[in-house]
């Protein structure tokens, strides 16, 4: 096990993939000479050269489409879109080509492509640089969507994604890059469809992913002081959702709070709440609660941004309202 940051873990996984598979190459805005907008690919250009670490023009639709074409042509490209905010320009290539070609070609073509992008707010980047829209991608059949929240997952899930024969999209919450943690670089690539219980408890289930996991764990600690034992479930995969794990936890605790940095309306939290209602109705002792961002373009001013984003106190309050008063 080695101690490293989340960004170093992603870099280590990229390095391992590049070294072990000649078909792998990295393409994206400022991934080469600049070393990556979040310094993830720092040093890779020097080690692997400009052919395999390719800076691209700011042409998201075309370099993502080129990634799809190269995957069709026998490569295993990793495309970095700097942030989810710039990915909408490539949404046609993603939805109409990457996600669709296998089915539309009657099973002949497959697109072994991994796309990584930073996501989320909380760093005063204002509306156009603070979106959290993993849920849009998790709506699309044909692609898989991951949200590694721990340093170990940042390493292991990228390697797991590279084994898939179809497109995988990995969302790295921008606030996680400096997170410290342990990575076993000799370990097998991680399984990428199952959720993980990060803290077990019997009174209420807190369901979170990516940048919201930390807030859920903090909320669980505060709830423990108030005599409420919260179970924290880290989704890890946003498509497919690990419904059995969600149902099993709710069957134990009878209460659930879903934490999702996206806007509440039509969010992933809405989908999870519907799945719980459909599959664990008889286990519910209270309606599923959701803690999401306020429905506003992310404001710049710190106090406003903080007010807009999901907060630990909101999670604690939501959980307390669900659990019957103690004593």
């Amino acid at each position: 096990m080695t101690k490293m940051t989340y960004r170093e873990a992603v870099r280590a996984a990229l390095r391992k993939a590049l070294r072990s598979d000649p078909r792998v190459f990295l393409m994206g805005e400022d991934v080469g000479r600049y070393g990556g907008a979040f310094a993830v690919s720092h040093g890779l250009l020097a080690e692997f050269g400009p052919e395999r670490i390719r800076d691209t023009p700011l042409s998201e639709s075309t370099f993502v489409g080129a990634g799809i074409g190269a995957a069709l042509g026998g490569m295993r490209p990793i495309v970095e879109i700097m942030t989810v905010n710039f990915s909408f320009l490539a949404m046609d290539q993603i939805l109409n080509n990457a996600a669709t070609l296998r089915h539309m070609s009657g099973g002949q073509l497959n697109v072994p492509l991994v796309v990584r992008m930073a996501t989320g707010g909380g760093r005063q980047m204002a509306a156009q640089h603070s979106n959290s829209l993993e849920g849009w991608y998790a709506h699309i059949p044909g692609i898989q969507v991951l949200a590694p929240a721990t340093v170990a997952d940042a390493y292991g899930m990228l390697l797991g994604a590279l084994r898939e024969a179809d497109p995988v999209f990995i969302f790295e919450h921008a606030t996680l890059y400096p997170l410290e943690g342990e990575v076993d670089e000799s370990a097998e690539p991680l399984e990428i469809t199952r959720a993980a219980v990060r803290r077990s408890g019997g009174d209420v289930t807190l369901i979170a992913y990516g940048g919201s996991l930390g807030k859920a764990l903090q909320a669980a600690e505060r709830l423990a002081q108030a005599g409420i034992e919260a179970e924290v479930l880290d989704l890890r995969a946003l498509r497919p959702l690990d419904i059995p794990a969600i149902v099993a936890s709710v069957a134990k605790t009878h209460r659930a709070v879903v934490v999702d940095e996206a806007w509440r309306t039509g969010s992933l939290a809405a989908e999870i709440s519907a799945q719980i209602m459909e599959k664990a109705f008889d286990d519910l002792d209270a309606p599923v609660a959701r803690v999401c961002s306020a429905e506003v373009p992310m404001p710049y001013a710190k106090h406003l941004e903080t007010a807009a984003l999901p907060k630990v106190e909101e999670i604690v309050r939501a959980a307390q309202e669900l659990v019957p008063r103690h004593g």
Binding site: S59, S61, G65, A66, A70, L72, P77, Q144, A165
Partner: protein, 332 residues
């Protein structure tokens, strides 16, 4: 680079010339039968016919080898036939049958053939250009000699992806032959009404691409220009933009009332019907007689009738398979 001369030039090899004529005739009769099947509700949804543009599809395709990759658009029947896909599986695909080349999942706009490296039709205008750039990038990175042919219409030059793709291909010196079939209309909008600069081949220079234009109605001229472009690219000189000036005799699609152009204009272009032009030149060179032409007609008509029988007989894909082919088999 000016338009390639379309004067008579030397007499072509007889066998090859008859092959070109047969390919164009196969496409013409296939498209006419498709129109008939559509009016009889055997084919549904969108249908974009290639009648009038046969020379660009057949002529340009001669420049590419089985190792090369082909990317086309939704007006792709001619490209698929010219690339060698049998008329049977194409007709079956438009009938929505499981025996179709895309198992009935794609329809007229989405033919695919992995073995023949025919990477399909794209219904989003300009959507295929980035794919072609990627295929060429893969060839280069794997040190393969393959070239990628990317067909698109004049409408696509208005899409951002056209500009991004030409720039990226030139920047990375990728082996792509961009083949713009300029039929003067983007559905109902004439070229001059959607482009400030209507000389499409002139749009390549700003991105550092070599380019030229050719009379798309002269199959021999198209073949020559395409082979010259492909040779340029195979030599590692980077991408090439070849503009094929052509015209479609039918409406944009079956649902198009074709109100945006005059009958006179269509009749004027029909005088340069690529099939009729080439037929007449072959006779002038003494390479074609009536009997030969009639035999050709009968064979092609029989082939197209067989395609319809094949399509009619094809089974439907069972509804139980609805969710198949969304993602690959789950790994062990």
């Amino acid at each position: 680079m000016s338009a390639a001369p379309s004067s008579d030039g030397p007499t072509p090899d007889r066998e090859h010339a008859l092959f070109l004529l047969r390919e164009m005739l196969r496409i013409r009769r296939f498209e006419e039968k498709a129109a008939e099947m559509y009016s009889l509700q055997k084919i549904h949804g969108f249908l974009h016919l290639y009648i009038g543009e046969e020379a660009t599809g057949v002529g340009a395709m001669q420049a590419f080898t089985p190792e090369d990759a082909i990317v086309a658009t939704y007006r792709e029947h001619g490209h698929a036939i010219a690339r060698g896909m049998p008329a049977t599986v194409l007709m079956a695909e438009m009938f929505g049958k499981a025996t179709g080349c895309s198992h009935g999942h794609g329809g007229s706009m989405h033919f695919f053939d992995k073995a023949r490296r025919f990477y399909g039709g794209y219904a989003i205008v300009g959507g295929g250009l980035p794919i072609a750039v990627g295929l060429a990038l893969a060839e280069k990175l794997q040190k393969h000699s393959g070239v990628t042919a990317c067909y698109f219409g004049d409408g696509a030059v208005a899409e951002g992806e056209f500009h991004e793709a030409l720039n990226l291909a030139a920047l990375w010196k990728l082996p792509v032959v961009f083949l713009c079939e300029n039929n003067l209309y983007a559905m109902g909008t004439a070229l001059a009404r959607h482009q400030a600069q209507t000389d499409i081949s002139a749009k390549a220079a700003p991105y550092g691409l070599a380019s030229s234009a050719v009379d798309g109605m002269d199959v021999l001229a198209v073949e020559a220009a395409a082979k010259q472009a492909a040779a340029f690219v195979r030599a590692g000189n980077g991408p090439y933009l070849l503009e094929l000036r052509t015209y479609r005799f039918r409406a944009h699609s079956m649902a198009d009332p074709d109100l945006y152009r005059t009958k006179e204009e269509i009749e004027e272009w029909k005088k340069r019907d690529p099939l009729a032009l080439f037929d007449a030149r072959l006779r002038a060179w003494g390479l074609l007689e009536d009997a030969e032409r009639a035999r050709l007609e009968a064979e092609v008509t029989a082939e197209i009738e067989e395609a319809v029988r094949f399509a009619e007989a094809g089974p439907w894909e069972p509804v139980e398979n609805l969710l198949a082919d969304v993602r690959g088999p789950v790994k062990s």
